[in-house]
């Protein structure tokens, strides 16, 4: 939690840096806390704490070198994202009519392995579906994600951080997207945004990426066994929860761009 005095001191420091760089309008650091409860009536059994999403926080423009950066916190899970682009692309990788999107995911400890490659592919394809690549042909847009702490729902947090970083970089997109995780335990109860303990004990963990325009399913990655009806139930719950996430995006961006 950033206290008022520290925040104002940081603001002053940033003003000095911005003036030194000769930048006109300073990008204000924004820190929004939003405790969001997803009340889902029919989809999930009335287990109060089980149906709510964890405490969210998002911070934008915290890194100086990338064109856009964001840090997304969901409970104790935290992911830092940086976006470079549209920038120069290697001739071997260039696509004549679109931007080449690249995603790099670094785990908290160890070297990236096959699981990270698989996640990078999921995030990259999700971003490719929303980013208007045709406006920047023969360029590259690189999204770099660093896992700062993992306490459950990591892939969803990565997706949210990537989306916020793309917005911060000003990359043109046709919609925003968000990630939502559902866990199903052995007696079929649905838990949204599970912690690592809940994920371990769950029978199935489903992660969805939904777009902001029509709440369509952009990406899905699942673990465990579940039935078709349970899938529809989780998808409906995720769509309801995504509304809260998108409202949080809108509020945080409004707060950032209105100089109040």
């Amino acid at each position: 939690m950033v206290t008022q005095s520290v925040r104002s001191a940081r603001c002053r420091a940033e003003v000095i840096i911005a003036a030194a760089r000769g930048v006109g309008a300073m990008e204000e650091e924004m820190h929004t806390d939003a405790k969001i409860r997803a009340e889902i009536g029919t989809g999930c059994s009335p287990r109060g704490p089980g149906c709510s999403l964890r405490h969210f926080a998002c911070e934008q423009n915290l890194l100086s070198r990338p064109d856009g950066s964001a840090s997304f916190l969901q409970g104790d899970t935290s992911v830092l994202a940086g976006v470079y682009g549209p920038a120069e692309v290697k001739v071997s990788k260039e696509i004549f009519n679109k931007a080449t999107l690249e995603v790099i995911l670094r785990p908290k400890i160890g070297l990236p392995g096959v699981a990270e490659k698989s996640r990078e592919r999921l995030i990259r394809n999700t971003c490719e579906a929303v980013v208007l690549g045709t406006l920047h042909p023969r360029t590259s847009i690189t999204v770099v994600l660093q896992v700062v702490s993992d306490a459950g729902s990591l892939l969803a947090c990565c997706l949210n951080a990537a989306c916020m970083a793309l917005v911060d970089a000003g990359v043109p997109m046709r919609a925003l997207f968000c990630g939502v995780t559902c866990a199903l335990d052995s007696d079929g109860t649905l838990v949204l945004d599970p912690t690592s303990k809940q994920e371990k004990e769950a029978r199935a963990v489903l992660t969805f990426a939904l777009d902001s325009v029509e709440r369509k399913l952009l990406m899905s990655s699942t673990k465990g066994l579940y039935s078709d009806s349970e899938l529809q139930q989780c998808l409906a719950a995720a769509q309801a929860a995504s509304q809260h996430v998108f409202r949080f995006y809108r509020e945080s961006l409004q707060r950032r761009y209105s100089k109040s």
Binding site: V114, A115, K117, S118, E120, R121, L122, I123, R124, N125, T126, C127, E128, A129, L206, A209, L210, D211, E214, K216, L217, L218, M219, S220, S221, T222, K223, G224, L225, Y226, S227, D228, L231, Q232, L235, A236
Partner: protein
């Protein structure tokens, strides 16, 4: 392409047919998406299939004699061979009564010009991770069955899937090849000699693995954000705006819903895919049972 050349030779007298053939091949190269759209409007595809039809699937079990289990699966032109080797290993310390199943998908330069030799590319790594997830989620083998002596010795099954010809829909072919190969694996009986504490392998007494579920993958490609086609070929995958793979077992439970980005899908479209996946599972199961039955009297 080869058959068309033969037909050109036969019909060389009819110059309008020849010109039409030239036009079609040029159009297909220059505007592949438009070419495909014309077929999709008529609810069919250039190779004559319906939108919900799979290519001819053939499976050949037990072709590799040096492997403990093997299978070759052809899905149209896509060919994947799976070989399973069983070796001894110490069980993991956090699960001393479990063995390992280690899958690896290899996409060599042989199968397609887009793959180069060297470390596995992204496509191969994603496919390997997908197969590992399918094994883990579907519980196809109970890992406890692979344990010989808790804490000391367990089986590790190395499943190597090699693609020999890449023409789209690699995930379905790999899943089917893995399932067929695992059904073909015969493990010898192992006893631990109490005096020497060494493992004694009895190669004469072999038993099949206990395959608990039969996961079957069904892949779809999304065209123009709305149309779903089953079993895309390489060209269709390249033109598609998204892909979706559903892995289902015999009770209708889903092991994996793999949708790596791409155009959005509504819940209703997903339902259609589910019903197609159920019918595909029945088709594959029938094929598997036929092959297994033909192998039995040995």
């Amino acid at each position: 392409m080869k058959t068309s050349v033969v037909s050109v030779v036969v019909k060389v007298a009819d110059s309008s047919v020849y010109l039409r053939y030239i036009f079609n091949t040029c159009f297909r190269t220059v505007e592949p998406l438009e070419y495909y759209r014309r077929f999709l409007k008529e609810n069919c595809r250039p190779d004559g299939r319906e939108l919900g039809e799979f290519r001819t699937t053939t499976v050949n079990i037990g072709s590799i004699s040096t492997a403990d289990g093997s299978a070759l699966v052809k899905l149209g032109n896509t060919t994947v061979i799976c070989g399973v080797k069983a070796e001894f290993a110490a069980p993991p310390t956090d699960a001393p009564d479990k063995g390992y199943v280690v899958p690896n998908v290899d996409l060599p330069p042989l199968c397609s010009s887009r793959f180069r030799s060297g470390p596995p590319g992204e496509e191969a790594q994603v496919a390997s991770q997908f197969i590992a997830d399918v094994i883990e989620n579907s519980q196809i083998i109970q890992k406890e069955d692979l344990c010989i002596s808790p804490g000391k010795l367990a089986w590790v099954l190395y499943c190597d899937l090699i693609c020999l010809d890449y023409d789209g829909n690699i995930l379905d072919a790999c899943t089917f090849a893995l399932l067929a190969a695992l059904k073909n694996v015969q493990l010898p009986e192992v006893t631990i000699n109490e005096e020497t504490a060494l493992a004694e392998v009895n190669l004469k007494k072999k038993s099949y693995l206990n395959i608990r579920t039969h996961p079957v993958a069904t892949s779809f490609a999304v065209f123009d954000d709305t149309l779903l086609i089953v079993d895309p070929t390489g060209e269709e995958e390249h033109l598609a705006t998204g892909t979706l793979t559903i892995v289902m077992d015999e009770e209708g439970k889903l092991c994996c819903l793999h949708k790596p980005g791409g155009s959005g899908l509504t819940g209703a479209k997903l339902q259609d895919c589910m019903s197609r996946a159920v019918t595909r599972h029945k088709e594959v199961k029938k094929l598997m049972d036929e092959v297994i039955k033909s192998m039995k009297p040995k």
